[in-house]
């Protein structure tokens, strides 16, 4: 499953860059309860209680920054497993600035495997898309400083 989007905020490009590359900051845009542990600048891991309504389970996740071209381009791969299932996300960002306005162009390839993709597929069909969009919407609001 592929999702993408763009948004423009009044924040500076450097601010947007630091937001997305700092786990403490970007993880605050995640709605589901989660923990985060920083191994080094490019490696983080933790847990997340993800799901919708009562269909919810705990995943252990680990992330690695695969590409880092400050302050314009970055790519991160996130792998999570739990509930007899697994998710693999490759998220990429392109940040540009014109006249004090910063535009963030994002794309996310999400692959689900195991029970949530098989037996649970019918139940979680639209959820992945909503969660991805919600994350970047939260990020936009935070950057907007609203």
């Amino acid at each position: 499953m592929h999702f993408e989007g763009t948004f423009t905020v009044r924040a500076t490009r450097a601010r947007a860059w630091s937001f997305f590359l700092n786990p403490q900051e970007f993880s605050s845009a995640i709605d589901d309860p989660h923990t985060i542990e920083i191994i080094d600048a490019d490696h983080f891991r933790g847990t997340i209680k993800a799901g919708v309504a009562f269909i919810r389970g705990t995943f252990t996740w680990s992330a690695v920054v695969k590409e880092r071209v400050p302050p314009e381009r970055a790519q991160m791969a996130v792998h999570g497993s739990g509930m007899g299932s697994a998710f693999d996300i490759v998220a990429s960002l392109a940040i540009s600035e014109t006249g004090g306005l910063t535009t963030v162009k994002w794309a996310a390839d999400v692959q689900m495997s195991g029970t949530i993709a098989t037996t649970g597929a019918r139940l979680l069909q639209g959820t992945t898309e909503k969660k991805t969009n919600a994350f970047f919407e939260n990020a936009r609001k935070m950057l907007e400083g609203a």
Partner: protein, 777 residues
């Protein structure tokens, strides 16, 4: 004068007494003191490298006692095991998982619930690898090699062909009319209502007993002995009551081996019972054949040649349950009921990231795939020639006088009368009236279809000169022992999974020995007591073990005749076996019944003869048997939604001599329903990541009593010339013959729109799409 419960009588079943009281004894009913439970961690990925399996958390879960991983088995050289087709299958992976829901680790705990908690606590780190799910893509040059352990670096497992390639090409070129169809038979799953499982237990002296859902207990015992290096006399396999098999309980599944290893390590009995989702997602599948067929005929509708090319998707290893010399099973019965001069079949087995297998689903060895191909493409050809499909078949059937008939692909059909069966089906359903009704309906724009399938099956594997599994010849056996009071017990090398052997075998013996079938106990499935046999699948029980019963009984009669002569003080030659007793020829009231003879065998046996009255026979069938039938199906289609409804289905079957008409009819009802299921409902989908979509009964829909029509059955009787009582197998005929009849009916209903084929399952939206595109919806 008939004996009670002899051949041909619809006696009620012996098995029912315990089943209707809930006193059946299935594997999950086995409870042993100190028994532990094993549950399995499964891969969410269809292809991935295993980096690390972390079991600390799992070992802390209350009740969890042990976790088995691939490297534990590797140490005992048990990480891999042979498949029935001599390929290699993982018990647990050490390096890579090859299909989604593959076994990755096993948790042993003191309760079923704790074991499940343990499974949830095992953490496995994977590194996903590229996935191949389409066998055609797997054969492309740049496809990832799934089995680097094999000599040739390719995803092709084997190439197999039979028949006259050049002659067939030539005959097709010279044919006035040639029709081509591409048919895909999707992956489906037997889904017997009981899933697989076992209880493994070592006694104090190191003897292993395994209660197991297996259709072939003896073969399993020998494979365990060879693979695990256990002395075969210290292994006992017990198949208790089995809740349906249909071929799905022939393979050796990793869960069985894991339970044995766990029992060995813990010193406790260990039970493993899989959930339904595990059963559907991980156990052996059926079908998944990509078939491309060409058929030729003269312009006046005489068949000339048949060419079939097939790609067989086997998953990551060839774990099919076929006789070893036939990687594509008996698919080359594909010439069916027609006397093709020229025919050629080739099949390529291919690896993909899917579970291993290729088992029957109630269809012998790839015989449904064959019958579906020929009865579908014969229909297309008839339609192209503008001939009525019934008339076309009648014109081309192998005539009765041609039997025994040698087919172009090397089979010798024992007996058949195809025209009589089709004629009977047409009369019962009033074929001509249906065609008239269809004409009127079509004028009003209503959609009605009539479909025919006149299949020939090939069952009863098989002659030991050609048929073996892992070298074990495919004979089967019966051992009879008659007690002093004239009662008897008989044991067999086969294993019923609902076919009623305890009743039908007793009827054969009652007929042969003159003892009421109520007085004959039948046992199967315990390798410590039953004579060696290759088990029950591919409708082989009656043709092999049923024959062994007759022959063993006749051996007993030879001895009984001498005892009777001794009792009647005559010479054995003065006696004849008539009205189920030995009579002095011409003096019928001077006779001895088998009961009297049996008593004498222990109390007054002739001098120089050993006491007792027993015999055993290992029957090597001289040929397979070829049951056949003609089915006619009538469907109505809802123009708005595309839904297909079966209005009537008449099935005329011929399986030679019938032992119990009630039981045969039951087999046909069940078989037809397992023909309807793949035709309209069942399919296992895979997305491009190898995720199984439809991996539970929530999405993999079996037919209920509402979708299943009120089947109408009838029979003709053409005995097998080489079987002691003329019987052929029947358990799978209806599953083999029905799909083509249903699809032919749907295509018939839409033929005026130019439709020649629709791949199964025929879902409402496939039909709607055709109607929509033709502006008829």
């Amino acid at each position: 004068m008939t004996v009670h419960g002899g051949i041909g009588q619809s006696v009620k079943r012996k098995e029912d007494a315990r089943f209707v009281r809930g006193k059946g004894n299935y594997v999950d009913d086995v409870k042993l003191p100190g028994m532990l439970y094993l549950d399995i961690v499964r891969s969410p990925y269809a292809h991935a490298r295993i980096r690390y399996i972390n079991i600390e958390k799992a070992l802390k879960v209350p009740g969890v006692l042990a976790v088995i991983r691939g490297k534990d088995l590797e140490a005992a050289n048990l990480a891999w095991m042979p498949t029935l087709m001599s390929d290699k299958q993982m018990v647990l992976p050490v390096e890579r998982v090859m299909y989604q829901s593959q076994e990755v680790a096993a948790v042993v705990a003191d309760s079923r619930y704790a074991a499940a908690d343990g499974v949830a606590a095992v953490e496995v780190e994977y590194e996903p690898l590229p996935v191949v799910v389409d066998p055609k893509k797997a054969l492309e040059p740049d496809a990832p090699i799934l089995r680097p352990d094999r000599k040739e670096q390719t995803n092709r497992i084997w190439h197999w062909e039979v028949g006259d390639r050049a002659g067939t090409e030539k005959a097709l070129k010279e044919s006035d009319v040639v029709v081509h169809e591409d048919l895909y038979l999707p992956r489906i799953h037997v889904s017997s209502i009981e899933t697989c499982g076992c209880v493994a237990s070592f006694d104090a002296m190191g003897k292993l007993t395994v209660w197991m859902t297996t259709q072939a207990p003896h073969a399993i015992r020998t494979v365990f002995a060879l693979v695990a290096g256990l002395p075969e006399q210290k292994i006992r396999i017990i198949s208790p009551d089995i809740g349906g098999g249909f071929g799905g309980k022939v393979p050796v599944y990793p869960g069985y081996v894991l339970a044995v290893v766990a029992a060995l390590k813990t010193g406790h009995p260990v039970k493993w019972i899989e959930d339904r989702s595990e059963n559907i997602q991980a156990d052996s599948f059926a079908r998944d054949y990509h078939i491309s067929a060409d058929i030729g005929a003269t312009k006046d509708g005489k068949l000339t040649a048949l060419r079939v090319k097939t790609i067989a998707d086997h998953g990551y290893t060839d774990a099919a349950a076929n006789p070893s010399k036939f990687p594509a099973g008996l698919f080359h019965i594909v010439t069916g009921s027609y006397p093709f001069e020229k025919a050629h079949v080739e099949v390529d087995g291919v690896y993909t990231n899917k579970p291993p297998g290729g088992i029957a689903y109630r269809c012998s060895f790839r015989v449904t795939e064959a019958a579906f191909t020929i009865e579908r493409i014969v229909d297309s050809l008839a339609r192209k020639l503008g001939m009525d499909p019934a008339e076309f078949r009648m014109k081309n059937f192998i005539p009765p006088e041609a039997f025994p008939f040698k087919s172009a692909l090397g089979w010798e059909y024992d007996s058949g009368n195809y025209g009589a069966a089709l004629r009977k089906a047409m009369d019962i359903i009033d074929y001509d009236a249906l065609r008239k009704e269809q004409g009127e309906k079509r004028k009003r724009g209503d959609l009605m279809g009539i479909g025919i399938s006149s299949f020939t099956e090939i069952v009863g594997a098989g002659p030991s000169h050609t048929f073996d599994i892992l070298g074990l010849k495919m004979f089967d056996s019966c051992e009879i022992r008659i007690h002093p009071t004239g009662k008897a017990i008989a044991r067999f090398g086969t294993k019923s999974q609902g076919q009623g052997h305890e009743t039908t075998y007793a009827q054969i013996l009652a007929e042969e020995l003159g003892i009421s079938s109520d007085d004959i106990a039948i046992e199967e499935g315990d390798t410590d007591t039953a004579p060696y046999g290759l088990g029950t699948y591919a409708s082989r029980s009656t043709p092999t073990a049923g024959a062994a019963a007759s022959i063993a009984a006749r051996k007993i009669r030879e001895k009984a005749q001498k005892i009777a002569a001794h009792l009647l003080e005559v010479s054995p030659d003065d006696l004849e076996w008539k009205d189920h007793k030995f009579q002095v020829k011409g003096v019928p009231d001077k006779a001895k019944t088998m009961a009297e003879i049996a008593f004498a065998a222990y109390t007054n046996h002739p001098p120089g003869m050993e006491a007792g009255l027993e015999a055993v026979d290992y029957y090597d069938p001289p040929n397979l048997t070829y049951p056949f039938g003609s089915y006619i199906c009538v469907v109505d289609i809802d123009k708005d939604t595309g839904e297909v409804k079966i209005r009537r289905f008449v099935a005329v079957d011929d399986c030679g001599t019938i032992i119990n008409p009630m039981i045969v009819e039951g087999q046909i009802h069940g078989g037809l329903t397992m023909g309807l299921a793949p035709a309209l409902l069942e399919e296992i989908h895979y997305d491009e990541n190898g995720n199984i979509l439809g991996g539970s009964f929530m999405d993999y829909l079996l037919p209920t009593a509402v979708e299943t029509p009120k089947w109408e059955t009838a029979k003709t009787t053409t005995p097998s010339p080489h079987h002691p009582i003329g019987a052929k197998g029947v358990g799978e005929s209806a599953t083999v013959g029905a799909p083509a009849a249903i699809v032919n009916a749907v295509v018939d209903a839409l033929a005026h729109l130019g439709v020649t084929h629709i791949d199964i399952p025929i879902t409402p939206w496939k039909v709607w799409k055709i109607l929509h595109e033709q502006g008829a919806a």
